[in-house]
């Protein structure tokens, strides 16, 4: 019965992505040449995607403990945070970049599906989805094809699955031209103590594969994710999995029903590396082993070999260890939902995952040798500071033409039409943002989404964030800013930041310059997570994000450590959005106490959009200042003093104020921003220095100043909210300008629909 297997040759080993050295370790540990199935198992388990071999040493420097964490990073499929009231929140972010580059619809769809399974395999019901997307320049037709396909894929899967997509970010830059980033995040809720675990620790218990049948799709998907994209990648389309959100919805309901019924002793979703990864990881965690009889796996196509069955990445499947004696109940639950539940093996105690095919053993590998934290390789890669940093840090803003008040208005209107700043309504209207009726604040009018928890007075605030441009220009500071800004967004929405999940998108780790940015950026994230007290609960690393060039070389995307921030809104009264609320209210800017405006335009959207430059240093950030500003704003919100809040980020103070007008119901503002000596108007309006938040309030200036007394922050009254929708900015000696609502709204509302041919 055993199918003819190819002979194990050095060429075959290399096409499996294993180095000669790694192959040597395999032979040494097994004491023999591996079988073809075993070679496949090692190949996927030791791929970058599954083993984290080039990143784990650095990831371990991140702070991964905190009072609210119920499981540590990497212990389960997702992080688990105590949110009070006997409830916990499971959340995680993951990349699906390479599949989306060659097949945007299915790549993005299965990215959404995969991250949902990470949440409900823990027994948590997903309540919200987020995403973080990066593309090249929208003027490129291929980029538009990618954006269209990715957005349709996210919607096509998530809308049918029935979880609202509540927040996200989309950024465009030529750096992502050939290698888009598609990061998907899911957030779920579970009662404390009712979670399921990804372990096989009951010897003799039956092992089930449940959900969809197994096909040939996605074989070696994990390996595909662990190499650079090339021109030949079009041929890798068959490596991309195909999603079926309907089956996922059934799998969700059946899984939660089975866990609630107490028939599940252990469960792990099948994502990358399918049966291989789930069986090895559950065995290693349970310090047990598994015997699998693959002929019992429900197959979608005839003639599938054990190699294919072990490596398939067919979606919508789970591996379950049944509670002994409850097998019939388990089968009944999945039968009710018209899903397969096939007994394919049992838990053993010898530490081996043994794979049989009609009785004949085709693989016997020690589980511990395969997994992260066990025998999988751990590499410390060489680093080298990128040469380009000498050039970018030497940038001097004085070489740029200055602008006057009229020029400032023109620049503001132009920036509002930059696809990076313009409204993403064209994108998020294609997502169901409201299903499950918990979305208090969805995409658009706030810095973070707010999702209420039914039956309580609390809500979760959540946001994805990363400005890859900053990380490119200053990896350490950029990593810090990614965390700081995500936390600031959550605070502006009324939430206390609790914990972080991260998706680290970088280039080829074997390039020392890339690894330098990786190490520095992770270091920066760690700095910020420690100061802001938001531990890292887990996430995902995606290396090899490189755009192929015509000369055969490749260029890494901007280093993009996407942060998914979770926060708790303690009372629904604290929910805050960014739009102006009422004419006559005061507009305040809160900043660190010692903050002085500098000619700091480095890494700004203004430099990029207006001057075509990605240069300078990343903008100013001091983490202790940042913490003081965030704490102060949250205190003001909780005391009921804040009617709207919006942080100063992409596009600077000018865009921040314009957005607060655009998000409002026809209101504007009249503000005075007189620059001090030597301060350029462009830097004043469009510089992106961190730790600044604009908020509106009915407080008088004296009252506001009294409230922040002794707090290492200061508030500056900028002006007043007005009727009529115009933004009037007084620039002192430089004059003033007024932008009407329609002058601002036209570019802001239409830039993306126009680029996509929708208007």
């Amino acid at each position: 019965m055993r199918p003819t297997e190819p002979e194990i040759t050095p060429e075959l080993v290399r096409t499996h992505g294993l180095t000669d050295e790694e192959y040597g370790w395999i032979v040494e540990r097994l004491g023999r040449v591996p079988t073809f199935v075993e070679l496949g198992i090692y190949s996927v388990m030791w791929s970058e995607h599954c083993s984290y071999k080039n990143s784990i040493a650095v990831l371990k420097t991140l702070p991964r403990e905190g009072p609210a964490l119920l499981v540590g990073a990497g212990e389960e499929n997702a992080g688990l945070v105590d949110i009070g009231g006997g409830l916990a929140c499971a959340f995680k972010i993951e990349s699906h970049n390479h599949p989306s580059a060659v097949e945007p619809y299915q790549g993005a769809a299965t990215g959404v599906g995969g991250i949902q399974r990470d949440i409900f395999t823990m027994g948590a019901r997903p309540i919200a989805s987020l995403n973080s997307l990066r593309f090249g320049d929208l003027s490129n037709p291929k980029v538009r094809w990618l954006l269209d396909g990715v957005v349709r894929g996210i919607g096509g899967y998530g809308n049918s699955f029935g979880v609202p997509t509540v927040a996200g970010e989309v950024m465009f830059d030529p750096a992502y031209e050939g290698n888009p980033l598609v990061n998907a995040m899911s957030v779920g809720i579970v009662k404390v103590g009712e979670t399921a675990s990804a372990t096989a620790d009951v010897p003799g218990a039956s092992v089930y594969i449940v959900g969809a049948a197994t096909g040939r799709d996605g074989i070696h998907g994990a390996t595909f994710a662990s190499e650079e994209l090339t021109e030949e990648n079009e041929a890798k389309r068959p490596n991309v999995q195909v999603g079926d959100p309907f089956t996922e919805k059934l799998l969700l309901e059946a899984t939660l029903e089975a866990i609630a019924a107490g028939v599940v002793a252990g469960i792990q979703d099948m994502g990358a590396a399918g049966i291989t990864c789930s069986s090895c990881e559950m065995s290693a965690k349970g310090e047990s082993g598994m015997e699998l009889d693959l002929e019992h796996v429900p197959a979608r196509e005839s003639g599938m070999t054990p190699y294919e069955l072990m490596l398939s990445e067919s979606q919508e499947r789970m591996l379950i260890v049944a509670v002994p004696g409850r097998e019939a109940d388990l089968e009944a639950v999945f039968g009710k939902w018209d899903l397969h539940a096939a007994r394919i093996g049992r838990v053993t105690t010898d530490g081996f995952v043994r794979v049989r095919w009609h009785g004949e053993e085709v693989a016997a590998v020690p589980a511990e040798h395969l997994v992260l934290g066990g025998g999988a390789p751990v590499y410390h890669r060489d680093t080298q500071r990128p040469a380009y940093l000498d050039e970018t840090t030497a940038f001097d803003v004085r070489g740029l033409p200055e602008i006057d008040a009229a020029g400032a208005k023109a620049a503001l209107v132009a920036l509002l039409g930059s696809p990076n700043i313009a409204s993403k309504r064209w994108v998020f209207e294609q997502y169901d943002t409201m299903v499950r009726t918990n979305t208090v604040v969805g995409p658009g009018p706030s810095d973070a989404a707010v999702v209420r928890i039914k039956g309580t007075d609390r809500a979760l605030a959540m946001k994805t964030d990363c400005n890859g441009r900053y990380v490119y220009l200053n990896p350490r500071k950029g990593g810090r800013i990614a965390v700081a800004e995500a936390a600031r967004n959550v605070v502006c929405a009324g939430g206390q930041p609790l914990a972080v999940t991260n998706c680290l998108n970088f280039g080829n780790p074997y390039k020392p310059e890339v690894y330098y940015t990786f190490k520095e950026a992770v270091g920066g994230m760690g700095d910020a997570c420690r100061v802001l007290e938001t531990p890292v609960t887990g996430g995902n690393v995606s290396f090899y994000n490189e755009s192929p060039r015509e000369d055969g070389t490749s260029r890494a995307v901007f280093p993009t450590p996407t942060i998914g921030m979770l926060g708790l809104v303690e009372s629904l009264e604290h929910v805050t959005t960014a739009g102006f609320k009422a004419a006559g209210e005061s507009v305040y800017l809160i900043t660190p106490i010692g903050w002085v405006h500098k000619n700091d335009l480095g890494g700004s959207e203004y430099l990029s959009h207006r001057h075509g430059l990605t240069t300078g240093d990343a903008p100013h950030l001091n983490l202790y200042e940042e913490r003081a500003v965030q704490k102060m704003l949250l205190d003001l919100i909780r005391a009921g003093h804040v009617t709207a809040a919006h942080d100063v980020s992409d596009g600077g103070l000018g865009v921040c104020l314009a957005e607060m007008a655009l998000f409002s119901d026809g209101l504007g503002a009249d503000v005075a921003l007189a620059p001090h000596d030597h301060l350029r108007v462009d830097a004043l309006l469009f510089g992106e220095a961190q730790s600044r938040i604009v908020f509106t309030s009915r407080l008088s200036e004296d009252e506001a100043e009294a409230l922040v007394e002794g707090r290492s922050v200061k508030v500056l009254r900028l002006g007043t909210v007005t009727d009529g929708g115009a933004l009037r900015v007084d620039l002192g000696a430089y004059g003033s300008f007024e932008a009407s609502r329609s002058e601002m709204a036209e570019p802001y509302d239409t830039a993306i629909p126009k680029a996509m041919g929708a208007v």
């Binding site: 699955f161 919805k249 939902w337 169901d432 979305t439």
Partner: protein, 231 residues
């Protein structure tokens, strides 16, 4: 008021309809699995939104064959109140309880947004708490929401007052721009001839709590409670 919320494989607004009916409006609501019979003594059946059977075929085309639908047809013929929202509307059309069909949106994209609709008939059990001309803000979320019927059917629906809700702009004008999906004559919701079965694409259950942005959907549920009180 006793209400059943049907659950098909792929329903995903079932919990929302249940939450609105039970927790917001105090109805005695229960879920009914699609393979189970309808319980006795019901006042209302809600066919919720979602993607029954994945909607890989024509929307609602498989769900109409679910065992529970025979009971729903019988219940409707006996004069029971049936509310179909979004996918529920599609299923009711496929089941023959309502005329016409829901086609792919003009623009061929899923659309989720707040949408204004105008009440065209306040004499139904679903709209008796409204006044003709009331403009309600009700969210839409669908790919296949363009109501279609032949001209003769549309004329008959209009003449009989079976067009209950129509897409309009904020000021109540039924302009082309206010029609989000290309529905014939901007139709957002219709009743059957007898007036006891309503299908609507917008989601009233999403706008019943001020916290979530609007309470305009409450008008539909309050009407149902009032209809029961006078029945």
């Amino acid at each position: 008021m006793t209400a059943a919320v049907l659950v098909f494989p792929g329903s995903n607004c079932d919990h929302d309809a249940y939450h609105a009916a039970k927790h917001v409006f105090g109805m005695d609501a229960r879920f009914v699995w699609h393979k189970d019979p309808l319980p006795e003594g019901l006042d209302l059946v809600i066919v919720p939104g979602g993607f029954s059977y994945g909607d890989y075929l024509r929307t609602g085309a498989i769900a109409r064959f679910s065992p529970v639908m025979q009971d729903v047809v019988r219940f409707a013929h006996d004069g029971g109140l049936v509310l179909g929202v979004c996918n529920g509307f599609q299923i009711l059309c496929e089941a023959g309880l309502l005329p016409g069909a829901l086609l792919r949106n003009r623009g061929l994209r899923f659309r989720c947004k707040s949408q204004h609709v105008r009440v065209e008939n306040a004499g139904t059990p679903f709209t008796n708490a409204c006044t003709v001309g009331d403009v309600l803000d009700l969210p839409i979320a669908h790919s296949d929401g363009a109501y279609y019927a032949d001209e003769a059917t549309l004329d008959r629906l209009e003449a009989n007052g079976q067009v209950v809700l129509r897409y309009v702009d904020a000021s109540g004008q039924a302009t082309a721009a206010a029609n989000p999906n290309g529905a014939s004559r901007g139709i957002a919701g219709i009743v059957n001839e007898r007036g006891n079965v309503l299908g609507m694409m917008p989601h009233p259950e999403r706008h019943v709590e001020a916290l979530l942005g609007s309470t305009d959907g409450a008008a539909i549920f309050r009407s149902l409670l009032a209809a029961e009180a006078t029945a």
